[in-house]
Symmetry: C2
Subunit: 230 residues, 2 copies
């Protein structure tokens, strides 16, 4: 398969393929001469993955390269998940380290309450602290109690994610699938939440109208905590 074929089959312009090759996102093909290089099905697959991670997942070329590098490491599959996590961009600029420190206790409190065992150096700690700081500065304080139900939902989602990964028989591409589950399911969940918000708000508005009340009251109930104790 030549570049032109690769281009045609994936809908990616030749120039872009060359660019990805230059940037190390695509492994080079087999050069059979100065004007003939052959590519295989793995290039098609990789190209699709690149486009999904960048166009849909919103990753930069650099971040995509990191993720792909993590995928290509022949690591313990679940360890790969960690590497992929670390390769992800978590927008926290250096200037707000102080702000992050301010929220660190609350992050610790939440992690403790959930019984989550999270590495001290996880970038997600900082990212979470930064987001909570934003919310707080905007006048929307979220306490640990406020966050706990969300954390329970996240835990349930994570269990679904890992269930799916364990069912994969193709061990060779497990790392790839892990990255896909982590990254491409994220927009799916975000969209589902927005859809649910639309429906839920419709329901509540209707309720408020028909009962002429001051608005519906909370319909939330405690979420059960499915992992069997700690």
């Amino acid at each position: 398969m030549k570049v032109s074929d690769l281009s045609r089959l994936t809908g990616t312009p030749v120039g872009t393929i060359k660019y990805y090759l230059r940037e190390g996102l695509l492994p080079p093909g087999r050069a059979l001469g100065a004007t003939l290089t052959m590519y295989g099905d793995e290039h098609i697959q990789r190209l699709r993955l690149i486009r999904a991670l960048t166009a849909r997942g919103g990753l930069s070329i650099a971040a995509t390269r990191d993720v792909l590098a993590a995928i290509d490491q022949p690591l313990d599959p679940l360890a790969t998940l960690g590497v992929v996590h670390y390769a992800l961009p978590t927008p926290v600029d250096a200037a707000e380290t102080d702000a992050v420190g301010e929220q660190a206790p609350q992050v610790d409190q939440l992690l403790g309450a959930m019984g989550w065992d999270i590495s001290e150096e996880s970038p997600h700690r900082r990212a979470l602290a930064a987001s909570l700081m934003d919310l707080s500065r905007l006048g929307m304080e979220y306490s640990t109690e406020d966050l706990l139900p969300y954390a329970e939902l996240a835990a349930a989602a994570a269990r679904l994610d890992l269930d799916r990964l364990e069912d994969i028989e193709d061990r060779l591409r497990l790392a790839e699938h892990a990255a896909i589950v982590v990254l491409l399911l994220e927009p799916v969940l975000a969209i589902l939440r927005r859809l649910a918000q639309e429906d839920e708000s419709r329901h509540r508005t209707a309720w408020a109208r028909t009962t002429d009340g001051a608005g519906p009251r909370s319909t939330t109930r405690p979420v059960d905590h499915p992992r069997e104790s700690h």
Copy 2:
């Protein structure tokens, strides 16, 4: 308060403030002369919101302007949520309309199964179809049954979101808070899911090691469906 003060209090460079004024993200101050324009606390608040939406939420300046415009509409609070939703960027390029159509039946099936009442023109329909298409092309088919538990989690999250909004007493800024809940809680949920994945994968790896099994089995249980029938 002068620009210099506004700049100092928010940590935003004067040049950037001027830029936001030009772009219509910040309302102009009260001009008291050719070299003196006064700004108020609402400008501080608005500036913080802009920075949160762009730097944290990842919105473009244009998308931020749309969201802010939605916020400034004196609409029914829950309608505002809809307007905010429509102002959000959903990365689906025109070229993949066919692919979207291919997945449309599955989207309908999911919405039907959840009993969600979603407008036919919602951009989220297309966005979801596009994401499912990506997954399918990458060899990770998600059936309606696979997605349902995620949708249940999303519904639970949406209920939490709206509970919070209903508890807000400051009706004037409700639209603003709605945007914050929709947009800035999104990265929080994403981070929580990643943290949960890290913890869950640690647990499963440990389990697999101690039991010397072929890997842990599913720990998922059915999620209950909290809204009282349809």
